[in-house]
């Protein structure tokens, strides 16, 4: 029942290009202290080892560069690798950092406006990012509506909003680039704004979720304990923190 990437392929016998979208965490750096970075990374990973295991990440260097902190990209990748994360892209870096990334075989992501990127780099990053962008714009306003229970093990993806009129079972996963509304019990995982939309919200009438996430900021059920189940609530992002609040 996965409602996922449609193929827009030019049929070819050996290979086929398919457009598909992925939700990838972006690691935003606020410091250039590698020891500190390693430390906080391993703490984060410990919180949800399964979630992070071999997870791909994109490194966002815009914050450190704004503060004009110097960081060596090669060493940074080694540090991130120690936390068992795979760097699959970089954005917001300087020309030198982007060149280092290319040399390491890591694509440069230019979806954020980045004047410094060379045309050559743009081409490189397109191979990963461009199809996804295409699809988003095409299906910008698609809302997916599900009227039947989403069972354990099922995944539903929406390019826009996602409305579920039944329950979401434990072990199920619902993802939307926009908002998520669940009118039954939400027991599985709900990820809104998976393409980075920090304005996305999750609305549900009975929160018992295993995990909730907006634009990559997430909470697992241990963290949401104490939040009231069986009450209509909304979840939104405020200063990079998830806020769980009853709808009055």
């Amino acid at each position: 029942m996965t409602i996922n990437a449609q193929s827009k392929s030019h049929s070819s016998p050996a290979v086929e290009f398919k457009s598909s979208t992925f939700s990838v965490p972006v690691l935003s750096l606020a410091s250039n202290d590698l020891v500190l970075i390693e430390q906080s990374l391993s703490e984060k990973v410990k919180l949800a080892p399964e979630f992070f295991k071999h997870s791909p990440v994109i490194i966002d260097l815009s914050e450190v560069n704004k503060k004009q902190l110097v960081i060596d990209f090669g060493n940074l990748v080694t540090s991130v690798r120690k936390a068992d994360l795979f760097v699959i892209g970089v954005r917001g870096g300087t020309e030198q950092q982007h060149q280092d990334a290319i040399d390491l075989g890591i694509p440069v992501n230019t979806s954020q406006s980045n004047v410094e990127a060379k045309p050559e780099n743009t081409k490189n990053s397109k191979s990963i990012k461009a199809p996804a962008d295409d699809e988003v714009s095409e299906n910008e306003s698609t809302t997916v509506m599900i009227t039947k229970p989403i069972r354990s093990g099922q995944r539903v993806y929406s390019h826009g909003d996602l409305i579920v009129l039944a329950q979401v079972g434990a072990g199920a996963e619902i993802l939307a680039e926009g908002n998520i509304h669940v009118y039954g019990s939400l027991r599985g995982r709900a990820l809104a704004g998976v393409q980075g939309n920090t304005e996305a919200r999750i609305f549900c009438s009975d929160l018992q979720a295993e995990l909730i996430s907006i634009a990559g900021n997430y909470k697992i059920s241990d963290d949401i304990q104490g939040a009231i189940s069986n009450t209509p609530i909304q979840i939104y992002l405020q200063k990079n923190t998830l806020v769980i609040k009853p709808i009055v």
Binding site: P149, S152, Q154, G171
Partner: protein, 269 residues
């Protein structure tokens, strides 16, 4: 039009084979020509519970491989001549089942029988997949216990996405809940999930509650489907289930402790 019923659960040991034996016997007793197929290749049990293990000559794998005809492999039940059994193979493994082979067998059986009951193996591998792939109705057997409920939920997900009806975009499989090994006393004392707890997670159409009963084990061991034991509570529960499935309106029983009190009072089993 034959109706294909899959008896499934995901989890093992919840009563799939007991249920398959009971409802197929029940349907046949009501006058419908029924066949029950054991999909648990490698661990065949159904013939034991149906009491026909000594009459197994050919099995479903022989039929798929063209080593025997369907009529040679089908075993006529000795209690009810409207009921036939297609046993599983003890010596092969589940990979011997092919979608094409199973499809062909079901097509052929559909010409002759009114109901085809598929006894699914536990798990979600090939055997379980093929047992449910062609189904029209699914009897989801669940125990009032968290892991069983979770596995049933997973199975329901597969029923709605990996079946032939789902792939062809036809009307989805009709799903029914059979809550087995239910003990109102233990629910009361908080040891067991209640019917409401289970329904909160699965929200399915309840076909019936089968109480935990000694008669299930004695019937299985003697090779008589429990539904033939009309005095036992489990036998009555299965009779109700068959009647409800066929559209009769029967109130649900064995959910509350009350019946237990009367049972004790009158010394029934």
């Amino acid at each position: 039009m034959a109706r294909i019923i899959v008896v499934t659960s995901g989890k093992g040991g919840v009563g799939k084979t007991t249920t398959s034996a009971a409802i197929s016997m029940g349907l046949a007793k009501k006058g419908h020509k029924t066949v029950v197929i054991d999909f648990d290749v490698g661990l065949r049990n159904l013939d034991l519970i149906m009491g026909c293990e000594r009459r197994v000559v050919y099995d479903i794998i022989n039929v798929i491989n063209g080593e025997a005809s369907l009529n040679q492999a089908l075993i006529r039940d000795k209690n009810c001549n409207l009921l036939s059994i297609l046993p599983a193979s003890q010596t092969r493994n589940k990979d011997a089942l092919t979608q094409e082979g199973v499809g062909k067998i079901l097509e052929e059986l559909a010409k002759d029988f009114k109901y085809i009951v598929c006894d699914s193996p536990a798990g979600i591998e090939q055997g379980a997949h093929l047992a449910m792939y062609f189904a029209d109705d699914a009897f989801v057997v669940t125990n009032p216990e968290v892991s069983s409920v979770r596995d049933s939920d997973r199975m329901l997900g597969l029923l709605s996405s990996k079946s032939r009806r789902a792939e062809r975009g036809e009307e989805p499989i009709k799903e029914y809940l059979l809550l087995s090994r239910y003990s109102p006393e233990r629910v009361k004392s908080g040891e067991m999930l209640s019917l409401d707890d289970v329904q909160e997670i699965l929200s399915l159409h309840l076909l019936g509650v089968i109480p935990e009963s000694k008669s299930v084990l004695t019937s299985s061991n003697s090779g008589m489907p429990v539904i033939l034991d009309e005095k036992s509570d489990a036998g009555q529960a299965y009779a109700d289930i068959v009647a409800r499935y066929l559209g009769e309106n029967k109130p649900h029983r064995f959910i509350d402790d009350k019946s237990g009190f009367f049972r004790k009072l009158f010394g029934g089993k």
